[in-house]
Subunit: 194 residues, 2 copies
Amino acid sequence: MSDRLGRQLAFLAEADRLKSVLRANTLCDASRRENSGEHSWHVALYALVLADQARPEVRIDRVLQMLLIHDLVEIDCGDTPIHGSHDAVSVAEAESAAADRLFGLLPEDQARTLRALWDEFEEGVSPDAIFARSIDRVQPVMQNLESGGGTWRDFNVSSDQLDARVGVKIARGAPRLWDHVRALTRRYFDAPAG
Amino acid sequence: MSDRLGRQLAFLAEADRLKSVLRANTLCDASRRENSGEHSWHVALYALVLADQARPEVRIDRVLQMLLIHDLVEIDCGDTPIHGSHDAVSVAEAESAAADRLFGLLPEDQARTLRALWDEFEEGVSPDAIFARSIDRVQPVMQNLESGGGTWRDFNVSSDQLDARVGVKIARGAPRLWDHVRALTRRYFDAPAG
Ligand SMILES: [Ca+2]
């Protein structure tokens, strides 16, 4: 029992390091870059509030759990900006090794359960994972809109590139949400540069 | 529909401000103070991992939802450090007004649902709320242990004060967890000051 608790608390202390992993996008007020710990909270809140955008078979409680753990591997690997260039295969390998290490801190039964949940998110095939991934993609779009361009300016992203790289993935799990947000992004990209 | 989504997204953009509310305690590595957004993520992860510490009637999915929203009122009121001095009645009044404003940004049905969940957490009477409050109390204890004293040093807290102010509340929802953590805090307080 005590060893079980010891392992759980060691995992939770290690998880604290996610608060020091910086993402490409900023807070809505552009005051600083967002970290992956607070991002994980924000996307979980997104999923809770936007649950009515999910297909009927989606179980929001599982989506919340996925989103709480989806970025933990960044403790070892850092964040991979969607508009940056990277080698998808080597990123996936490094993240898999990070998942081995991090979930391996837990008692075996929980390591198995949470690793399977993380794998499900990564595979992006189940209805829960598809919705979770749509939510994970839409939050930085809203951060960029609120902060006046954010990573779209930094990486010189066009409206068409956004549609192709991000919009398609949001629309997969939450088509009406993307319709709504796309109208907002079109308005941003159509406006004269400020 | 579009107005509904507009209200939901306005609420989620406003929630972003919780990432700029600083708490009294630091990250585990003591590099900086923790903010209430990343704290909310961390306690939700605590609840998920430590679910086996809860009484059988506790529904962890509701606990996660409570913990995701429990600190939102701090956007208007700031964090109230447990070891600081404050007027509990005026804090409760200000937080209630903040809950009116913040949850009031949402569509009416969701405003009602999430406000009721926040009220349930604040009242701390239901089994779910009692467990959620235990988790919310134990995380800063672990942050202080990891960072070498943290707010116990800042506020000159003794082991007995910690037991009375915090331990009793952790033990209410998670008695075995507090047994384990109390052994760790005793060891910290018994060690010669570093
Ligand atoms: Ca709290």
